[in-house]
Symmetry: C2
Subunit: 600 residues, 2 copies
């Protein structure tokens, strides 16, 4: 692409052999300058790459250029006119795309001088992240850092292309809206026109996109900022970006097909990788049973094994009591885990304890004495009958030299523990294949789960998710058994996004509200407009939402969401660049009908 | 386009002659139902249009279908399977795109029932806007209303295509940021993590886009939500959308070219209209002199005429004193204005008085007595010499039967008055050609203007706008004469957008801050990060921003911004649909370190 703007004829990084002899004008930053035998070499950098500029000794103009080249320093902004020439024999730089050529400078103008940056603008820096974020405009000049932002822009561009190809309309929903039921997490925005009243920033445009379906707009998408005012975990941002999708007259298969096409196109166009579709599907229950999580990492198999049958008559105390109390005994095989040291095994036991488990048992499969079948070296083996051990090895498919870990206790809790162990141990022992992209649909989550602390039913997805046709009748009779027409897309063990077919009938929506204990007045107050809308003829509809930051992070192969956000916030929600948030001004508050609380 | 989703095989509005005999499945809303001779006719509506569905009398299945068709009511959601057939001879409906055919229903399923809407879903409704916004999901079903939202989506799609064709990257900037100098208008967002501190919602991403240029990202665009917490004028929204653009190593011509290509592509692709480029340009001063505004409506010519020379020796008292005090006498010719009644002239005098003018004089060009040259019928004519009248007619190009209006007073004020008169009178007397699109660049605005009330210099664009090279030296000596490298794009008298080449040198930026009376501490506090950034090598850069809502409104030929926003707010900043903003909850405030002010 010809560079945009009159300051140059070519991008620095685009010059090649074929430009030999051409007069070019370049503009960019001095990446590096060095002098060698009366010749000045500048590496000139712009968004397209780097090229070497040479100022030879000479007379008249050449002398001036050399003098100017002597003066410039790193990160100065310069404009150079010169002639492209092949580098002398043996001087080509194969590490640079432009390494076969250089530009012999005929003029050099300084467009802006620069102070020395507070940290080196190299790929790896040791500098404290706060300092880098404070100077984010320099941080983004570092190799790889700005690239992640460019990659993200490519991602959004491809997303839009795919969505619009299928007739989805980019429709903007309000940012200044009303506090939602999960109100505790809303950012509030006081209104000057109506002092004492507040808007809320949206956690998602869920209700608005459903209303757009009721309005007959049929296909909606938006790449939209969402907000959540909560304690920031290691890698959360108070504002984040969502790809939000909703369509009318669709079922699950329509959305699977759309999303699979979207992902395949993204991977092909952005990463040049072909990913097979359709994606495998697994039910929510099966995901917990096999992987101990609803976001399974399926890059590697190594499933959990339910050992309830194997140990139905067990004399191992912890197994016995877990099973008697309706819980589970779950095993997980670590291939060649027999090589682990005692200390390593202890490490995994601690790992389990840190997660609140009472303990974690383990055993190693060894040859039995005197040529008999394999035996289990384990503190527990003396409580196990031979046929139990045989059944155990069959069930877990364990082979000589493998280790088996055992968890016992309440089922879901034990699944989650063993699932966490599976992922952590597979990573530590390098059982996760590199460069693999494993997508999985997780389907049929429950409609509700019992919240023990608050003693009430709680939506697993959200209150607008449709129950499956065959579990509609369970909403009152056996809520825990009702399945939702919900789906999550999981990639390499990370939830990329989730969605559902929504309730489109008012009576069903009211039944779900009843189940969730949303009183009629509360429902009226908070969701009145949705209930009203459902009364006026809503089409069957459904959608999905993806965390764009996370998607970009995975595709850019970065470790933090902050790496794919141009101006991210720290863990305390601060922006070291602008010093936001800033202490509030009393006069500003007064206009809003507010004042600060006295210090306690 | 094949409709998305399994509920149908075709869009209702896509059926034509060529589908004769095909079995189709449709889904949508019942637009209208009527019975006629034992046959039920349904107009079935979806996003693609409307088609007539017929349920004939018959036996077995047909009877069931007819019964079902009898039951359905307007706005119910139904799915219909049937066969497309040509309508009987003479029964075609030319007003409907599908009018040549109808669908003979073989099955009809009700997907959702609907209550009767609170207002008719017809093109024109008398209903109060509040009620319509409260049921916006119904309002959007009305013909033309949803179409404006669809048109807007097409606009954003074309914008993205053009920007990305030129290598511009869609980069997101923060929504939770820091209060800017025009802080009085910021929406504040209290932080739960840092009670007593606030974020501000951005009025524009100005500083961030400049920082992206300093970061070397070179080409940025974003379709971005911005916020302004101020009294809402008749047609303002507290949140609005901006097309925001910035590029490095560019000058004005680069941006003119880009924007002209963008507009030409938009008009061609969205409206099918070819608009000529390049657009005419006019300086800020010339715009005021000729049109009395910096946003001239150039669909019609009818310029203002400075009459200072004509009346240099005038004995008309108000002209004399205006000129003696350094002000102006300005004339405007209304073609055939001689036909205006006395009452109409009085109306224009009142128009001027409402705008704060002392008065407005007028005259009508008539034939002189006894075959002499034209004469001026005016209360003022007795104070005018014959040669003044002759010079006046030459200067204004007035002809027999025209009226001439005269304003006198301080120059800018008089220009503005006459400019407002020009537009209002041209509209009233239908001198504005229909269907014309007149784009104009307005250039070379002053860098600063004197704010009389606050007795200080104030930026005309914003403090980051670069002065022209040849007025840099005037910043201290003669600030009012310094011209900015700024440009506004005006369409049919409405400012579509504006931008500038920015200051990219720290010393210049500091000089402008000094001129604006931004103290060093204040500059440090509020713009420190920009000044810092400029110290580290900023490229020459510039950009532009457009009000997307206004652009969409003009292209959709709507009268209000609310017509092109899916969920707009009323003039008091309320959303009748969600009842936002809502009274704040004391507990929520407490978490933010805030409480309400006691009522006074």
């Amino acid at each position: 692409m010809k560079p945009f703007g009159r300051y140059r004829t070519h991008g620095a990084g685009t010059l090649r052999d074929e430009h030999d002899g051409e007069t070019v004008t370049l503009a960019g930053w001095v990446d590096r300058r060095r002098d060698h035998g009366g010749v000045a070499f500048l590496d000139l950098r712009d968004a397209s790459g780097i090229v070497q500029v040479v100022a030879d000794a000479g007379e008249g103009e050449a002398e001036e250029v050399l003098a100017a080249a002597h003066d410039v320093r790193g990160e100065w902004v310069v404009q150079v006119r010169g002639t492209v020439r092949r580098r002398p024999e043996g001087m080509a730089n194969p590490e640079l795309a432009t390494g076969a050529v250089e530009v012999a400078a005929e003029s050099l103008d300084v467009l802006a001088v620069a102070e020395t940056p507070p940290f080196p603008l190299t790929e790896r820096v040791e500098t404290d992240e706060n300092l880098r974020l404070e100077h984010r405009y320099l941080d983004l000049r570092r190799p790889g850092v700005g690239d992640a932002i460019r990659l993200r822009a490519r991602i959004t561009s491809v997303i839009r292309e795919v969505m619009e190809r299928h007739g989805f309309l980019d429709i903007e929903t309000p940012m200044l809206t009303r506090s939602t039921p999960e109100g505790a997490r809303d950012f509030l925005v006081p209104s000057r026109l109506q002092p004492g009243s507040v808007y809320a920033l949206p956690q998602s445009p869920q209700l608005f996109k459903q209303l757009l379906m009721v309005a007959g707009l049929e296909r909606y998408y938006q790449i939209v900022r969402c907000f959540r005012d909560e304690d920031l975990r290691a890698d959360r941002q108070p504002e984040f970006t969502q790809l939000d999708v909703e369509a009318s007259f669709v079922d699950e298969e329509d959305l699977y097909g759309l999303v699979e096409e979207l992902m395949a196109t993204l991977w092909e166009r952005v990463l040049g990788v072909e990913i097979p579709t359709p994606f495998p599907r697994i039910t929510y229950e099966a995901a917990f049973a096999r992987y101990g999580t609803d976001a399974p990492d399926t890059r590697f198999d190594l499933r959990l094994t339910d050992l309830g049958e194997v140990f139905s008559g067990t004399e191992v105390g912890v197994f016995r009591s877990a099973l008697d109390e309706g819980g589970s005994v779950i095993g997980w095989r670590l291939p060649d885990g027999g090589q682990l040291s005692r200390k390593q095994f202890d490490g995994w036991v601690e790992f389990a304890q840190r997660r609140g488990a009472k303990g974690l048992a383990w055993g190693v499969v060894e040859s039995g004495e005197g040529g008999s079948g394999p035996a289990l070296r384990s503190p527990l083996s003396k409580f196990m009958a031979d046929d139990e051990i045989t059944a155990l090895l069959v069930a877990t498919q364990a082979r000589l030299g493998d280790a088996i870990f055992f968890g016992a206790g309440p089922t879901r809790q034990t699944q989650e523990l063993m699932g966490a162990l599976r992922v952590a141990a597979a990573r530590e022992h390098e059982l996760v294949p590199a460069g693999k992209w494993a997508f999985t649909w997780v389907t049929e989550a429950p409609v509700v789960e019992w919240n023990v602390d608050e003693a009430r039913w709680e939506a697993v997805h959200h209150p607008f998710t449709a129950p499956t046709d065959d579990s509609l009748h369970k909403l009152e009779a056996d809520p825990a058994a009702a399945r939702a027409r919900a789906y999550d897309l999981v990639l390499n063990g990370t939830e990329l996004g989730g969605g559902s077919i929504r309730i489109h009938r008012r009576d069903t929506q009211e039944r779900v509200f009843d189940l969730l204990g949303v009183g009629h007045e509360e429902a009226r107050e908070k969701f009145g407009f949705l209930l009203d809308a459902l009364a006026y003829g809503a089409p069957p509809h459904g959608g999905i939402a993806f965390g764009l930051d996370r998607l970009a992070m995975l595709m850019a192969d970065k470790r933090s969401l902050r790496d794919v956000i141009a101006f991210p916030k720290t863990q305390s929600g601060s922006d070291p660049l602008t010093s936001a948030p800033a202490p509030v001004d009393a006069a500003q508050l007064r206009d809003l009908g507010l004042r600060t609380l006295p210090k306690e």
